[in-house]
Symmetry: D3
Subunit: 241 residues, 6 copies
């Protein structure tokens, strides 16, 4: 199985971290086709960063599909361009937020999310609503650290996230916590062990879900919302090569 994992921002060190998490998650026999988007912002913090990241990411998805990708993972917790990506791909496209939330509702009845910057809180709240998490998503919390600062001092990042996990357990009765940034993936296991709270990482969840969907032979429905783009000047070719 060949899974395309795309980091929509242009920071290679973050891609590397995502790649390590994806590789650890992958089953034997799975190949991770790891890509850093080019010409996109160095991190995705807000709507404009997302908007700039999406067109190169869609091109990368087309290219990966041509290389034989059997599923795609968008490794940014805002799930930027997820619906658009489903339009331009024949194979399943998975957002790490949607995948993580699907795991969270299977393992727990009430969970919280811990992200980086406060400006991402409403974005993720709206995503959780759109994905139907409803009351099950108790709260979205922020450690108030920019995305790229996460990997500067992993111990500090760990401490900040752990503090929010403990607060989520104590204040809102969270039964599990979802990490709200792809750049937190490598901290997942240690956080689970040290806090005693099940911590869920979207990169891992998405890679596993990709394997599951490939194994089932499912492809994106081309009847309606995710139909191939219509042919037009300036648009994507209606069908992948």
């Amino acid at each position: 199985m060949r899974i395309h994992v795309i980091n929509p921002n242009s920071t290679a060190s973050m891609t590397a971290q995502i790649g390590r998490a994806a590789t650890r998650a992958a089953s034997a026999g799975t190949t991770i086709d790891l890509v850093t988007a080019t010409g996109t912002p160095s991190s995705i913090e807000g709507y404009a960063d997302e908007a700039l990241a999406v067109p190169p990411m869609l091109a990368a998805i087309r290219a990966a599909e041509a290389r034989g990708a059997m599923a795609h993972v968008i490794a940014c917790f805002d799930d930027p361009g997820l619906s658009a990506a489903r339009e331009v791909a024949a194979t399943p496209v998975i957002g790490i937020c949607q995948a993580a939330l699907q795991v969270a509702v299977t393992l727990s009845s009430r969970f919280s999310i811990v992200t980086t910057l406060p400006r991402s809180v409403p974005i993720i709240e709206d995503l959780a609503d759109a994905y139907g998490a409803g009351r099950r998503c108790r709260r979205v919390r922020a450690i108030d650290l920019p995305v790229l600062a996460l990997e500067e001092d992993m111990d500090r990042s760990h401490a900040l996230i752990a503090a929010e996990i403990h607060a989520a357990r104590r204040e809102e009765g969270a039964e599990a916590v979802v990490l709200g940034c792809a750049g937190m993936a490598e901290l997942c296991e240690r956080l689970t062990q040290e806090t005693g709270v099940p911590v869920i990482d979207g990169v891992t969840a998405a890679v596993r879900q990709a394997e599951a969907l490939i194994g089932m032979g499912y492809r994106t429905s081309k009847l309606g919302s995710y139909a191939w783009p219509n042919h037009k000047a300036g648009g994507f070719a209606p069908e992948a090569a």
Copy 2:
């Protein structure tokens, strides 16, 4: 990986069909521990049938866990006893309705469900609401055939379901269809091919999701809703052996 697949009703021929679908879905290296519940109704059509099926099913889950099950699949589309099962198991428990809907929202933006009897329509509508499908679940349709009649004449069943799939496509713009009964699992592939609409079967989806969760090492959160039952007369032992 060892996955416990339990048919909560007591009809062995239906278990056999579920087993064939589960086995086809499973990856190499996965063992399906297939069980028919005993002392439960011969089919599950409505709330009372569900209620009678759950206690034996929970006992079967405990027994399977003792035999080394690493995840459990409840192979009935009403997801009977799903929350209770999560309380009595350390490992993940997956309902085929919840699993199928998670696949449906990944592959499409609008889908319908086709089930057996009209009396199951409100039950499944409420499940879809509880799982957050919202507007994405366009409609729950019924072919008006009892569960056990499904396998009496598979060609007739196929024809009835196919007619509803075409109607779902035409009338409510369904982009995918979920089969709303475990007894329909074997028809899935043929229906997809003949209707041209992606058709999703919950047994397949749940087995694959079980493998994914086992692979990630996740277990049911024991902090809150799904904590072990409290010790008491007449209750389950607080923790599995």
Copy 3:
């Protein structure tokens, strides 16, 4: 009028307390047919306890119907098996949570609920959502005392509940409070008097609602969701004797 009040757990002292509340609530001319379920957990704290309690409770409902019950009250605040009970009974079945919430929204615009254990909080939140309380249910609070400990020291229980009522008034502006456990029924009047907040007990509410429905001559609709169970091996007989 003959009203069947069933305590789904197997603790006779709790049944006795429920019986005192039911009797106090009943009008002249009403007979309370008070029953303790047999073979069920000694208290209902979580989903698995509920699941184990329901089949014996359904059998008790059938038996009571044969004895001439004109309505049934399920005296556990989780409303376990409420839909199933409606399937197996011709006469109305009332859950004390649903009945209490119907009173709460008639007397106030914003209310809170006080229950026993924290693990019951999400269960009751989901019930309140399912019953459409929405924003009117401000919060579900727990005193963190097991159900059976309630009656060990009624003064302590009273103090703990009163403290939560005051907090609900102060912190979330609750205009009324619903007692979230059948075992709290006898404290209702004293709590209202001492806190100055209208306190609503579900046993009382359900008995009165039962009288109202009997008086109107209404019976459970057998057209659809609550139709008699279909005839099958291992299921309930399709219709009560």
Copy 4:
């Protein structure tokens, strides 16, 4: 028990019909204090009619409270002025729409409503939403007859309503039907018998609920939303005499 039943419109023949339904619904020992509002529109069809009806109705509620009313029933299906009435009364105030819907969700899982004019459909839809009926209220239907034409030819009214009940059963699977106008109350029993669908009348439901609330000794919460009006020029006196 003394229950004040107020017809907010000024048509005495309609009050008489409401009175007959209320009297039939009342238990032995209950006195119906039946009042026609004065100076209000002759029927309530839309928002402006409601607005004009409410101030005289509130005055009538105050007057009835002074005469010893222990509960109030607003006998118009739009529940006009329900929240305001709760402010000016110490005793419970019941709207026939809210009461009927509480009965409907107890007896069925999916119901429809049949009202008079199409212009009332969105009004009642919004009420059902506000009361949390959600998906349980399948549809609001109109027979397209003005309120006062209902009693001109009761056989025709019966036939029109029966036709909608049959359509509700057939088209949206309604398991029960609520009559969406106080002027339909007397047709309730005959409609149930002839259609085989449980038909619910709000006047009956409200009178019985009033008895239940009086019996429990509950009063409207004066802590918050329904607190006595503040003292001011042009307003109601803060507390009833």
Copy 5:
């Protein structure tokens, strides 16, 4: 353009303040037809005050329409009688709450509302829900000052509101704040400047929206909900002169 601005309460000094805000908001060429309702409560604090204010307000709207009003602004934040007013007017009717919320969701993604008395909090919460603000309305806060006390000491009022704005920013991340009382209109600009938070006043918003709707030539739809009242004794004339 001639815009009718009606203060539904009978306090002339408050009308004067509303008039100053309306005049400041109006474009050159716009005439503000400023009216104090007569025979209504001196302030609107709760449901009963609203109910008493509406009929005179509707009469004022009819009168203003006859004088040539091209749109109407109801200058009370509870939007009393808004739907009824739309029935009796041919031209657009704007509630200051609905108008302010439309501005708030255009300028921000999360906002809070600051009103006068705690008893208005649930009223405004329900309005915000009905208008679809959903999660975007973070919280409704109260300064616990009666409406008429607002103008007694404008500096104190300013200080109390400013404190709530700062709290809304700090505690719930409000990105903008809506003033939840027409009597706060004149404080809007100073509050924005001193708190650094965009503060939105409904009177200003409504006057500007009225100009926009007049400019577009839109009128209230008379097809359905807001159709002219039906002709009847005690009702409004079906159509304005």
Copy 6:
């Protein structure tokens, strides 16, 4: 007042049509700064087209802001990039869908939307949900004509839209209809006259709303969701020149 109206697709004839509608909508003294995005798809039909259109559109917004734009109108009914645009602009940004829906809920209580292609139906349904239209948006209808075919034969387009408006009136009781494509703007008046149903065009609504917001002196909140982009490689400059 200077209002920047941007057509996010690259078809100049469509921009011209939008410009004519915008100019007709504008008050005396308003300058329309009309721009066609460059390097974007020739029409926007689906998520991928949207994604490709947004980055050039954001650049155009920055450029227009530098030229003195006091507000921006995104003239595509999917409101592509609306949140991102609010991040990169100091002045208000208005989407024609959001603006049209705000007008629709002011003039009516139930409305429908008529768009071009069926694939846009779920997109617009989700927008209407996100904007809180809820039950007020009865249905989204499609005439099944590509965006660019609209202007090929305006009489045919008119006929197709008129047929859907009549159907919306008849089948779902729509009280008003919103045109779900910027390319329909010029048909608005004629459709209103010929169908008798109020028809709302988003371009007109947005231009008028822009004037209103400019007149009030409001600017986009920079506290939270729509804060300036953070400084980073590949991102927008944190603040406009």
